[in-house]
């Protein structure tokens, strides 16, 4: 076996150009597979880390998924609203630690505007219960103060002190600007890798103020805006949803049931974790497809290897005959070919792992900054080892095709050199 291994290595080395190309093809495919998996894991973790520390998300009666999508992911539009009375009722409940209102409906150059209270900065958590941090500035104080997420600031080049205008509706281009209420940026949030990065945060009072006279969904000519109104601390009549933190775990389910059965107003209280995993199951289809594509690329790499080995066999009939003459059986010839393919796959898998970790290490800072995904580089995990082992095993199995051909050849050729 050792002699065969040494022969296989020498033989491969003598064909190193094709061997290296084969190894390269396998390496690239393995790197792709490992990279996809790393991104997938990163995405999944990032996804699950979008909101943490919030026990319930409460909104108008709808599906929990829908509620989480528009209140946390800023996807889709709220269908109805929640009365301020309900919010206050929950907020004052003795089991409730905190409650933060959310009001959506405006945008700023494609980024959504969220009206909320200053408590949002205190209670909102993402990842491993990481609180929001400021890159610059501070939370809003005044009605016309705004805080922008990291992506908003980066893509629009905003700094603290800049003045912005909000528009009615959620579209990028709006024909209904709230140009009568300019806002001043007072804070820029540090990147979180969550949809918060894409938010413009203002106070609930600001949302009320800019909609003063907009009750019909458009500016009312009869009621010209009054800037003094903006300082009115009176709460809005309606909000979009609110986030709730409970004092104890058992209280969460009780509160959820109570809210879902609340008779005075049709409400939905969703557990963010449950909704997130439900959502992930739906997105998971795409992610499995990506994985399948990467696996197919590995198969293509291995098929290339088989083709290369098969093509080489005819030129190597003499080599096999020499081996037969010194006492090798057809079984040895078979083993030699399988060893070659296994070695190629092994080298490919190792080179692929190196390539993947090299690329990930190089791309990690960028990916973390741009997509908010943390790609823990580190040592190969159990999954990487399993992939490597699977590729080597597949190389072994694929090698039986040329090996079988060589076996048949060497039976037919025997010691004959007349090829």
């Amino acid at each position: 076996m050792n002699r065969l291994l040494s022969l296989a290595l020498h033989s491969l080395w003598s064909r190193r150009v094709t061997a290296l190309l084969t190894v390269f093809a396998i390496a690239v495919s393995v790197a792709l597979l490992l990279g996809v998996e790393k991104l997938r894991t990163g995405a999944r973790e990032g996804f699950a880390a979008t909101v943490s520390g919030t026990d319930l998300i409460v909104g108008p009666r709808s599906g929990p998924l829908n509620l989480v999508l528009y209140s946390i992911f800023q996807i889709g539009e709220p269908t109805a609203s929640v009365s301020w009375a309900s919010f206050e009722l929950v907020e004052r409940h003795p089991d409730v630690a905190w409650a933060v209102p959310i009001s959506l409906g405006d945008s700023h150059r494609g980024f959504r505007v969220m009206g909320t209270s200053r408590d949002y900065f205190e209670h909102f958590r993402y990842g491993r219960r990481v609180p929001l941090a400021f890159d610059a500035g501070q939370p809003f104080e005044d009605v016309h103060d705004a805080v922008v997420g990291a992506t908003v600031a980066a893509s629009l080049g905003y700094r603290v002190g800049d003045s912005i205008e909000l528009s009615h509706g959620l579209g990028e281009v709006s024909f209904a600007p709230h140009d009568d209420h300019p806002f001043r940026i007072v804070g820029i949030l540090a990147p979180t890798g969550t949809p918060v990065d894409r938010l413009v945060l203002v106070s609930l009072q600001a949302v009320s103020a800019i909609h003063e006279g907009w009750e019909g969904g458009a500016r009312s000519l009869a009621a010209p805006p009054d800037v003094d109104h903006a300082h009115d601390p009176s709460p809005p009549a309606k909000i979009t949803a609110f986030l709730v933190g409970m004092k104890s775990r058992p209280a969460v389910l009780q509160m959820q049931r109570a809210l879902n059965e609340y008779a005075a107003e049709p409400l939905t209280a969703a557990l963010p974790g449950v909704a997130l995993s439900e959502l992930w199951r739906m997105i998971g289809v795409a992610d499995r497809a990506l994985r399948a594509v990467a696996a197919c690329v590995v198969l293509a790499g291995l098929a290339g290897m088989v083709a290369t080995l098969l093509t080489g066999l005819n030129e190597r009939r003499r080599e096999m005959a020499v081996l037969r003459a010194v006492g090798a059986g057809p079984g040895h010839v078979f083993t030699l070919l399988v060893l070659e393919s296994t070695l190629l796959a092994l080298l490919g898998a190792m080179a692929g792992a190196l390539l993947a970790s090299g690329l990930l290490a190089a791309a990690a800072p960028w990916v973390e900054h741009q997509l908010g995904l943390s790609l823990s580089p580190g040592l190969p995990g159990a999954y990487d080892l399993a992939i490597g082992a699977a590729v080597v095993a597949a190389g072994f199995v694929a090698g039986t095709i040329p090996a079988w051909r060589a076996y048949r050849n060497s039976l037919a050729d025997g010691l004959s050199m007349k090829v």
Binding site: A321, V322, L323, R324, A325, G327, G331, S416
Partner: protein
């Protein structure tokens, strides 16, 4: 054991049923004998060598090498028998071009522990001794890859390999036909010398009868083969 290296009796072989290639009623080669087997191409020489090497099995009769009936062995055992007891030198392409000269010689021990053991304490040293005895002494030649040698040098390496570990039987199939006349005689002389030293039986096959006088015995394959190959060979 016996003083018979090869004993063939009632041998019949055909590649396709009904078209016999070999029909050798009897052939005995004594141990240590140097036999010249002459036959034109197409006379079944290669087939006979395949039978002696245990790569082929006769449909009838027996091929006994060193007292062992090869047909009675399983195919893996026949391969091992060949590795242990038989050395081959062919007309050309005897070497693995990607191995060094010395590694090509010790390749004879790759599938036979017996050959390695019989090669002495240091197989590499024995390989170099054989190469030197066959006129390939220089260090530069030994270190080089087999593919870089001239044809004459390659044949010497092949002979050294066939002799490595002192096999009982050495089968040479037209080993000199790729060499020029001067090299041919010296090559043959050295080969025979080493065979005598190791007590190896030499079966030398060639279509060229001119070398026959150097051997203990000359046989013509068409004479011992009862299949009439003439119409097909022509």
């Amino acid at each position: 054991m016996s003083s018979t290296a090869v004993h063939i009796s009632g041998l019949k072989f055909s590649w396709t049923p009904g078209v016999p290639v070999l029909d050798v009623p009897s052939l005995t080669i004594a141990s240590g004998e140097r036999l010249f087997l002459q036959g034109p191409s197409g006379s079944g020489k290669s087939t006979l060598l395949g039978l002696l090497g245990g790569v082929l099995v006769p449909q009838a009769g027996s091929v006994r090498v060193l007292g062992t009936d090869l047909a009675a062995l399983r195919s893996a055992a026949r391969d091992r028998f060949r590795a242990d007891h038989v050395g081959f030198v062919f007309q050309m392409f005897n070497l693995l071009p990607y191995l060094s000269v010395v590694d090509n010689v010790t390749l004879a021990g790759a599938f036979s522990r017996r050959r390695v053991e019989r090669a002495g304490r240091d197989p590499g040293e024995e390989a170099r001794r054989l190469l030197a005895a066959l006129g390939l002494g220089s260090v530069s030649q030994l270190g080089s890859m087999a593919g870089q040698l001239s044809m004459g040098q390659q044949q010497r390496v092949a002979a050294a390999r066939a002799l490595f570990g002192r096999p009982e039987l050495l089968i040479a199939d037209e080993p000199t036909s790729a060499l020029d006349a001067a090299t041919r005689e010296s090559f043959l002389g050295l080969l025979m010398e080493e065979c005598a030293l190791a007590g190896t039986t030499l079966v030398f096959v060639s279509h060229d009868a001119a070398l026959g006088h150097l051997f203990d015995r000359c046989l013509s394959l068409p004479d011992i083969n009862q299949v009439d190959m003439e119409p097909r060979a022509a």
